[in-house]
């Protein structure tokens, strides 16, 4: 087949960069191109177009005042000169739409978002309908590239001791949370209405009154209401009529981290619409935030539920709705790291098809209010279930936000890693990129934000080969209510993450610092674009650290060992937590009280 001849016409008197780039790409793809200079008169262009048999004439021009007349007149001249019988005329530029191209009389119009692939497909006559291109990516397993090998043998030894002791300690213990998880599983798999009723009766015997009322009297706490059938029908119709177009990738290259976002407006429907829009902008996965009051009550609500408060209710119906509505390639994390419903949450997440979960026996007790002993028993059960459902679990190091030094937090993370490995689960380290109280007081990031953050990661990498997923989110406590500042901070921290080399990051919205209302989709998009720009800026290069980086790395690694030695000397992990080894009252960490005295022998 003869190569197609293309005449490239920059109708702009000065700017022809765009069409030069396109021309270079077309040359590479086997087209024969000629590029006119941008200062020719219409007559000179017509003459040139008439002088040879061009298959296509590509015109590039940005829309502006008076430009439409110019373009239409140009088409008239081409038509009257008989050139349209030989050549198809295509226009591309900012603000061009198919409607505008049709109005002006062009055969085809490409806007600034169109790709060179679309243009080439059109020129080759193999035009693909790009309107419903969807998301087009594969789901990634964060833990796949890591062997979980320990490089620091002393740390490994200490962790083994701590983990073995704990597993032995909880072996004969149970809690209402553990029991409810078993019942919940049966409820989900129950065939008949009768057996379901019996199971629910058994279930609510282990629940607090607030939760019981929702099952027995249909009374829900705190403005929670059921989502109606018609709302679900409207949602499904809305989603079926929409398709993402021009889907983006945040990552600039395949080595850059996956990017996660929170969802948890309180309404799963709002979450889903936000989620779909963020997906199209390149978000790889979401973490559902649940209401903080769920941590206080024994038992979870059931059904498709919505409310106006912070956090989407943890129920099988909600998680499944969200999971089914998101793209198959999008990852979904359900949080189970605190409160009295940890194992049951894993069951719900696993059964509903979630991909990941979140468990931290230390932080959940020290910074999130749960009794350390209760959380130890629940947490072990949760990790076992996570392994069974093949859901990797991330371990959030949010204790730093209370004032706990990084090394204590990271020690806690590593303890969870070892427990996870012993139970055949896939743990994921989640250190914070934050400006936490300990850092502020000890001026650890006063000269730059790079050395200390990088040192945390380096220390962990020196100890074990495990997935690392900074959060939660990155740039925590560096953001103000100023949108631009907030977006910038996300951008720089994203660039840092890309430069250091981690598996994933979680980013906040630019509403992060504003606590008095739900998060808007615009603010989510702000930070997604910010992260993408940060990744783009960083590309395949790296940040350069100062000498403090090495000092910090060594210090953190050394102090982790010290903490683990002390923790290993205690009878069990809960005792270590109570004794402040992994975060003391002086640090600002207080062992929680939810679920106190609820652990029983099996």
């Amino acid at each position: 087949m003869m190569a197609k001849k293309i005449l490239c016409v920059p109708l702009d008197p000065v700017h022809d960069v765009g069409i030069k780039i396109i021309r270079a790409e077309l040359d590479k793809n086997g087209f024969i191109t000629e590029l006119l200079s941008p200062d020719l008169s219409v007559h000179e262009i017509i003459k040139k177009a008439a002088s040879r048999q061009y298959d296509f004439i590509l015109v590039s021009r940005t829309l502006g005042y008076g430009v439409a007349e110019l373009l239409a007149s140009f088409i008239d001249q081409l038509d009257a000169a008989g050139i349209r019988e030989k050549s198809k005329v295509v226009i591309g530029g900012k603000a061009i739409t198919p409607q505008l191209a049709a109005e002006l009389g062009f055969d085809k119009g490409f806007d600034e978002h169109s790709t060179i692939e679309e243009l080439i497909a059109y020129l080759n006559g193999s035009e693909i309908n790009f309107k419903s291109s969807g998301i087009n990516r594969c789901k990634k397993d964060i833990s796949a590239d890591h062997a979980y090998k320990f490089f620091d043998k002393e740390v490994e030894k200490l962790l083994n001791q701590i983990a073995d002791k704990l597993l032995l300690f909880v072996k004969d213990k149970t809690t209402p949370g553990v029991e409810r998880a078993k019942i919940r599983r049966e409820i989900i798999h129950s065939g008949s209405t009768d057996s379901r009723k019996k199971l629910v009766k058994k279930y609510i015997e282990l629940c607090d009154a607030v939760i019981v009322k929702s099952y027995s009297d249909n009374q829900f706490p705190l403005a929670v209401r059921r989502i109606s059938e018609s709302e679900i029908t409207s949602l499904k119709k809305f989603l079926s009529e929409k398709n993402p177009i021009h889907s983006r990738k945040i990552q600039h290259n395949e080595h850059q981290p996956l990017v996660f976002k929170f969802l948890g407006s309180g309404c799963p429907m709002m979450d889903i619409v936000h989620g779909k829009i963020c997906e199209r902008s390149g978000i790889n996965g979401f973490l559902i935030i649940n209401p903080s009051w769920e941590a206080r009550y024994e038992g979870l609500l059931d059904g498709l539920l919505t409310h106006q408060n912070d956090g989407t209710i943890t129920s099988f119906g909600n998680i499944k709705l969200i999971r089914d509505s998101l793209d198959k390639s999008t990852l979904l994390t359900v949080r189970a790291h605190r409160g009295l419903n940890t194992p049951e949450t894993i069951v719900l997440a696993g059964e509903a098809g979630a991909d990941l979960t979140k468990i931290n026996l230390v932080y959940g007790a020290l910074g999130a209010g749960t009794d350390p002993l209760r959380l130890a028993v629940d947490g072990i059960e949760a990790i076992k279930l996570a392994a069974e459902y093949k859901m990797p679990f991330d371990i959030p190091g949010n204790d730093e936000l209370s004032g706990v030094p990084a090394w204590k937090t990271l020690a806690g993370l590593l303890i969870n890693v070892m427990i996870g490995l012993k139970l055949n689960a896939k743990p994921v380290l989640k250190p914070l990129f934050c400006y936490g109280p300990h850092i502020v007081i000890n001026k650890l990031m006063s000269e730059n934000y790079i050395d200390y953050n990088a040192a945390k990661i380096a220390a962990l990498k020196n100890i074990v080969d495990a997935p690392i997923w900074p959060g939660e989110p990155i740039a925590f406590m560096t953001q103000t209510e100023d949108r631009v500042q907030s977006a910038n901070s996300t951008s720089y921290h994203a660039a840092l993450a890309a430069g250091i080399g981690v598996d994933a990051i979680t980013i906040a919205s630019t509403d992060e610092a504003y606590s008095r209302g739900p998060i808007s989709v615009s603010s989510r998009l702000d930070s997604i674009h910010a992260a993408a720009d940060g990744f783009n800026f960083m590309g395949n290069s790296k940040f350069s650290t100062t000498s403090n980086f090495e000092l910090y790395t060594e210090m953190i690694q050394q102090k982790i060992k010290d903490i683990l030695r002390t923790a290993a000397s205690k009878d069990n992990l809960p005792e270590a937590i109570y004794d402040g080894v992994l975060g003391s009252k002086a640090d600002g960490a207080y062992p929680g009280k939810f679920g106190l005295n609820t652990v029983a022998k099996k």
């Binding site: 007559h43 017509i46 003459k47 008439a50 002088s51 829309l63 005042y65 439409a68 007349e69 239409a72 007149s73 088409i75 008239d76 001249q77 038509d79 009257a80 000169a81 008989g82 349209r84 019988e85 739409t97 198919p98 409607q99 505008l100 191209a101 049709a102 109005e103 002006l104 009389g105 062009f106 055969d107 085809k108 119009g109």
Partner: protein, 315 residues
């Protein structure tokens, strides 16, 4: 069966093409004439693509045939019957011919080249309409020579200076005043674009030259100076040859032996006092003096002039 083709051409966007066309559609309905409509380009949209102001929309009645791009059918709420899919394409998909079954507002994105318009008109004729309308788009008039008659629309959106509007229409009227040439007898030669456009005009002297495409006026002048007779493609193409001031000087310069291959009749001029007032950033609605506009046009043209909103011409 004979069928009249009327083109509606705007001297600029927002000069009342759609209003005039809507009027003609209603007039045809009153006279029980079966109509068909197409357009060069894209029109009938709710908001102007350029100025973003609301535009009048085309309402079509049952029985009317229209040729438009497939993408436009999505907005037509199943009020049509598909007659055929043509092989002609636009930026909005294939051109299809449909017959309205219910009254509906419509968006027309029609054929965008002369050959496509000729093809579409042939297809439309198969359905025996009595009157075909071709809606002109922004400064897109090249294919309109295929019409039997043309109505120009002008007004404040073209210029807020009434004198210049009148002058412009006088020149257009002058352009349309030259006769049609049926090419009887022998001795005609064709001039192709590259030869005529070069600085060295081929040695035509006292010849009958057929020019089938627009050429710059300076070249046309040189040819005519050598006592040649020029059979130009159409008055439409002469309008495309240069700016109107240049045309005025050109046509005033003497006895030009000028005739046309295609000669649509200049049927009427409609005037519209509206104009979009551009403040440097966005547009708002404004009007020039409607009475003065109509009066001055009528005084200076022999072609009938109407304000569609106040007059009710029977065409």
């Amino acid at each position: 069966m004979s069928c009249k083709i009327t083109g509606i051409v705007g001297t600029a966007k927002n000069t009342g093409k759609t209003t005039t066309l809507t009027y003609l559609v209603e007039l045809a309905a009153q006279k029980k004439i079966k109509t068909a409509i197409t357009g060069i380009g894209y029109d009938g949209e709710e908001i102007d693509n350029i100025t973003s102001l609301p535009k009048p929309r085309l309402k079509l009645l049952p029985g009317t045939i229209t040729a438009t791009s497939e993408a436009c059918l999505a907005r037509m709420n199943n009020c049509y019957e598909l007659l055929e899919r043509t092989e002609f394409e636009t930026a909005l998909g294939q051109i299809v011919i449909v017959r309205m079954t219910k009254p509906n507002l419509i968006v027309i994105a029609g054929p965008n080249s002369r050959s496509a318009l000729a093809g579409v008109l042939n297809r439309i004729r198969n359905y025996n309409p009595g009157w075909i309308f071709i809606d002109g788009s922004l400064n897109r008039i090249s294919p309109i020579y295929l019409a039997d008659e043309i109505i120009f629309t002008t007004g404040g959106a073209r210029s807020t200076d009434i004198n210049s509007l009148v002058t412009e229409m006088k020149i257009i009227e002058k352009v349309f005043s030259y006769p049609q040439n049926n090419l009887e007898g022998a001795g005609y030669s064709y001039a192709d674009i590259t030869s005529v456009e070069s600085d060295f005009i081929p040695d035509f002297t006292s010849e009958k030259i057929i020019i089938k495409h627009p050429v710059q006026l300076k070249h046309l002048k040189k040819i005519l100076e050598k006592n040649n007779e020029v059979i130009y493609h159409s008055p439409i193409y002469l309008l495309l040859s240069g700016d109107l001031n240049g045309l005025y000087d050109f046509l005033s310069s003497g006895n030009l032996k000028l005739s046309y291959l295609y000669k649509p009749e200049l049927k009427a001029v409609t005037v519209n006092p509206f104009y979009p007032d551009y403040n440097g950033l966005s547009y708002s609605e404004s009007f020039i003096n409607a009475d003065q506009l109509l009066r001055q046009m009528k005084e200076n043209l022999s072609t009938p002039v109407y304000n569609i909103k106040t007059d009710h011409p029977q065409f």
